[in-house]
C-alpha cells in the first residue's frame, strides 16, 4: 500500500515538487511573457521552499545564542535562501524591464505574436 504517513512527513518536499512542476509548466507552455516570468517566480519559490524545508526542525526555534535547552532549526538554508531571493528579485525586475521595452516596440507581450510580427517584417525586407 502507498505509505501515506511517509508522504505526510515529507509534505514540504512533495508540495515543493508540485509547485516546481506548476511553475515549470507555466514557463514552458504559456507564450505570454509576463506569465512566463510569473512561472519562473513560482518555480524559484518552490526551490526556496524545498531548500528551507531541509533545515526545518519540528518545534524548533530561531537559533539565537544565550538560550539553553531549546531545539534550534538549521539556520543555514534560510540564510542561503535569503541570497536566492535577492537574486530572484533582481532577475524578475530585469526581466520585467526588458518586457516593458518589448511592449513598447511590438505593442504586445505575447512571444508567439512577437515572433509572427518579426516574420512579417523579415519577409517585407
Amino acid at each position: 500500500m502507498f505509505d501515506f504517513v511517509k508522504l505526510w512527513d515529507n509534505s514540504f518536499y512533495a508540495m515543493a515538487i508540485i509547485l516546481f512542476l506548476i511553475g515549470f509548466w507555466v514557463m514552458l507552455t504559456h507564450s505570454n511573457l509576463i506569465k512566463k516570468v510569473i512561472g519562473m517566480n513560482i518555480m524559484e519559490t518552490a526551490i526556496f521552499l524545498f531548500f528551507v524545508a531541509i533545515g526545518y526542525v519540528n518545534q524548533g526555534s530561531a537559533p539565537i545564542l544565550g538560550r539553553e535547552g531549546v531545539t534550534f532549526v538549521n539556520p543555514l538554508p534560510s540564510a542561503l535562501i535569503l541570497t536566492g531571493i535577492v537574486v530572484s528579485v533582481s532577475i524578475t525586475a530585469f526581466a520585467l524591464a526588458l518586457i516593458i521595452k518589448l511592449h513598447s516596440y511590438y505593442g504586445t507581450v505575447d512571444a508567439d505574436e512577437i515572433a509572427q510580427l518579426r516574420r512579417i517584417s523579415d519577409d517585407s525586407e
Binding site: 530561531a62 539565537i64 545564542l65 544565550g66 535569503l82 535577492v86 533582481s90 525586475a93 520585467l96 524591464a97 516593458i100 521595452k101 511592449h103 513598447s104
Partner: protein, 143 residues
C-alpha cells in the same frame, strides 16, 4: 489613485516604517534581520511615498543621482572594510583576526566589522530597490 485617505495614512505611517527599517538594519548582528531585510523595509517606505505622492515629489527627496551614488558607496564601503583585513595581514573580510574590536555581545556597538557591513548593505539595498522601482515606473510613463 491620489486619494486623500492614502495620502494621510501614508504620511502617518512612513516615519514608523522607516524607523522599523533602521531598527532592523542596526540590529542585524543581534537578531534575525539585517542589511537586506532592513534595507528593503526602508525602500518599501519610499515606494509607498511614490505611490501616494507621485514620482516627482519623491525625486525631490531622493534624487536619482544621489541614490546611484549611495548604491555604489554601499558596495565600496563593503569592499574597503573587507580590504582592511588584507591590509593588516589577515584574510579578506576578516573580523576578529583583522583587529576589529568585538565589544560585549548583545550591545549595538559590538561584533566588529559586521555592524558596519550591515549598515552599508542596508543603504545599498534600499537605494537599489528605489532605483529599480523608479526605473520601472518611468518606463511605463514613456511607453
Amino acid at each position: 489613485m491620489r486619494n486623500i485617505i492614502v495620502r494621510v495614512i501614508a504620511r502617518v505611517i512612513i516615519p514608523f516604517i522607516q524607523l522599523y527599517g533602521f531598527y532592523v538594519v542596526f540590529h542585524g548582528h543581534l537578531s534575525p534581520g539585517g542589511g537586506f531585510a532592513g534595507g528593503t523595509i526602508i525602500a518599501a517606505s519610499l515606494i509607498l511615498y511614490v505611490l501616494a505622492f507621485g514620482l516627482v515629489a519623491e525625486e525631490k527627496r531622493v534624487p536619482e543621482r544621489i541614490a546611484q551614488i549611495i548604491e555604489s558607496l554601499g558596495a565600496i564601503v563593503y569592499v574597503v572594510i573587507g580590504l582592511v583585513g588584507v591590509l593588516v595581514g589577515a584574510q579578506f573580510l576578516g573580523n576578529k583576526i583583522a583587529g576589529f574590536p568585538l565589544g560585549v555581545p548583545g550591545r549595538i556597538l559590538s561584533s566588529g566589522s559586521i555592524l558596519i557591513l550591515t549598515i552599508a548593505i542596508g543603504f545599498k539595498v534600499a537605494s537599489t530597490m528605489i532605483t529599480l522601482f523608479n526605473h520601472l515606473i518611468e518606463d511605463e510613463k514613456e511607453g
